[in-house]
């Protein structure tokens, strides 16, 4: 295969060479354990704290409000279960959107089996949560039916910042405001606000104070850092119960030997994003819009998923009539283009993407979905190539499909 074009940056990203360079010394030379008393340990500890500061800076948080984990999945599990368990005696109601990443959906489902009540909000056809719905769903003072007398107040609202499939950016600031107002009115029953920022962190600006966010998850490998490092921002004063018990790392909230090389990489990646974010977003938005326009113009029966404007700079997602997504992805792969789909055929459960169903697509429409996500090294020539081959791929597959229109 001569040509290889990567348009699946939302799945994962290559490590930036600068990030790799920053990490290397921490593999064999500065390899110490942050818990050790000697100079090796000291060195590792100092690096860890610097990294914490760098990552915190990107979202205007304090260093001590960041704890490092191994993945966004872990951070999200810790946020939901950690808040739920720490408050289970007084509040057991949690609100999420229906388009959260599976790690949130499944954590919520698990908490449901543990006596928590989950409200799954609606989204509109673009995948947007209506802040008014959040306002209606929160219950700061509802009396509980739980027999032990604990109240069924809302304890947590978890709405993702930007969706991983369709790229829609949620009105996080408005939602944060609503929760803040409720907390001012009912200080005795505090509601926490968590957002999964795995897709937005480093791509669009985040200010945890302006947005009134209490907890936020992010992951290194989505922003040109290595896999195996992620973080959870926990606002000062917010109590959570740890899931991993052990040696008491990360302020006792996440025991495990600290993965210093990966965290150094994460921090370096965050530093680069802070510097490049604006320029990169501008460049990618232009390329993305060119891609979207090209696809919609060139291919009959093609539709954009997600919001035309309120979307991540690097995300394009379509559905095409009469073609199946896995076939599209493999056909494109044979032509050197990496992409992804929400088709039932490609999922481990053989079910269509819950996100696409939530925005109102029918199963057969979700079947024909294709996600193309751009990144730091996407070139205009690559988009041009895609715009050349994709119409051919679709034409070929439609020819095989019994649903094609007669030509």
């Amino acid at each position: 295969m001569e040509k290889r074009i990567y348009l699946d940056y939302a799945a994962t990203t290559p490590v930036d060479p600068k990030v790799k360079k920053a990490m290397l010394p921490y593999l064999s030379q500065k390899f110490g354990n942050t818990m050790s008393l000697h100079s090796f340990g000291q060195e590792a500890r100092e690096t860890l704290e610097e990294s914490r500061k760098t990552v915190a800076d990107l979202i205007k948080a304090k260093a001590k409000e960041i704890i490092f984990t191994s993945s966004a999945t872990e951070s999200n599990n810790l946020a939901l279960k950690g808040i739920a368990l720490a408050n289970r005696e007084k509040s057991r109601h949690i609100i999420i959107s229906p388009i959260e990443h599976p790690c949130i959906m499944e954590s919520a489902k698990f908490l449901e089996t543990q006596g928590f009540e989950i409200t799954r909000l609606k989204v509109d056809k673009y995948g947007l949560v209506d802040p008014g719905d959040v306002k209606k769903a929160i219950n700061p003072i509802r009396k509980s039916s739980i027999s032990n007398g604990a109240r069924k107040n809302t304890i947590l609202v978890s709405i993702m910042h930007a969706n991983n499939e369709i790229g829609t950016i949620e009105p996080i600031e408005e939602i944060g405001k609503i929760i803040k107002e409720s907390n001012i009115q009912h200080p005795e029953s505090r509601i926490y606000f968590h957002t999964d920022a795995a897709q937005s962190f480093g791509k669009i600006p985040i200010d945890v104070n302006k947005m009134n966010i209490d907890l936020l998850s992010a992951s290194s490998h989505k922003l040109y850092g290595p896999k195996g490092a992620a973080c959870l921002f926990i606002r000062e004063g917010v109590k959570i119960t740890p899931i991993l018990h052990g040696g008491g790392h990360e302020g006792g909230l996440r025991s495990s030997t600290v993965n210093v090389p990966a965290i150094v990489g994460f921090a370096e990646a965050a530093r680069i994003c802070e510097r490049e974010m604006r320029r990169e977003a501008e460049k990618l938005t232009k390329l993305r819009d060119k891609l979207i326009k090209g696809v919609l113009e060139k291919i009959d029966g093609s539709h954009l998923n997600g919001h035309p404007k309120k979307r991540l700079p690097n995300n394009a997602n379509f559905w095409f009539e009469f073609v199946e997504g896995e076939s599209m992805v493999i056909q494109l792969d044979l032509l050197g283009v990496a992409s992804s789909t929400g088709s039932a055929c490609s999922s481990a459960k053989l079910e269509p993407s819950h996100v696409l169903l939530a925005i109102g697509l029918k199963p057969q429409e979700a079947h024909g979905s294709l996600r193309l996500t751009l990144g730091r090294w996407t070139k205009e020539s690559e988009i041009r190539y895609l715009l050349k081959v994709l119409p051919e791929v679709i034409k070929k597959l439609r020819k095989i499909s019994p649903f094609k229109k007669h030509e």
Partner: protein
């Protein structure tokens, strides 16, 4: 490279260049089946003729499939397997034959091979019943299962099937 993604080279070959693909004019039998598990659809057309010994054979066969890589490859390979076979032989082709000729399928994709086998069964049934032939007992049993699953898939894909039938009328 022996595998591409989850698939064997054989699967990818069929996927890239499917055999006997397309619509058939005036077929003797049509099998239309849907995949109950993931929602894919396959239509198979047969033309029946006679061999030198005067036995009825599948003289020509074509398919149209909406589905994943495995669905397209199994469609293609089953047309190869059935072409030239007597009706009796063709009825014996099952999903295992399909999977074997592709050099295997990933476990999660085994259900796609059922789709191909069912489509062939349906096409033969359609031919036999149109010509008022006796239907073998086994075929009758298989059909009952297929019929039941078909109802469910039609429920799911109602609109598309409607569009398609309208296009046919034109």
């Amino acid at each position: 490279m022996n595998k591409i993604g989850l698939y064997t080279k054989k699967v990818i070959e069929h996927f890239k260049n499917p055999h006997n693909m397309g619509r058939m004019k005036n077929p003797d039998g049509i099998g239309k089946v849907g995949n109950i598990i993931c929602g894919d659809v396959m239509w198979l057309y047969i033309k029946v003729g006679k061999d030198k010994k005067g036995r009825e054979i599948i003289k020509n066969i074509k398919f149209e499939t909406f589905g994943c890589v495995a669905a397209l490859a199994t469609s293609s390979v089953i047309t190869d397997l059935a072409k030239g076979k007597t009706i009796e032989e063709a009825l014996k082709i099952n999903r295992n034959d399909v999977v074997k000729s592709l050099g295997g399928l990933p476990p999660i994709k085994l259900h796609c091979s059922v789709l191909a086998a069912d489509a062939l069964t349906e096409a033969i049934y359609d031919y036999l019943s149109k010509n008022k032939r006796e239907i073998p007992k086994e075929l009758r049993e298989t059909r009952q299962r297929i019929e039941k699953e078909k109802k469910e898939i039609e429920e799911r894909y109602k609109e598309w099937i409607k569009i398609e039938e309208e296009m046919h009328k034109k």
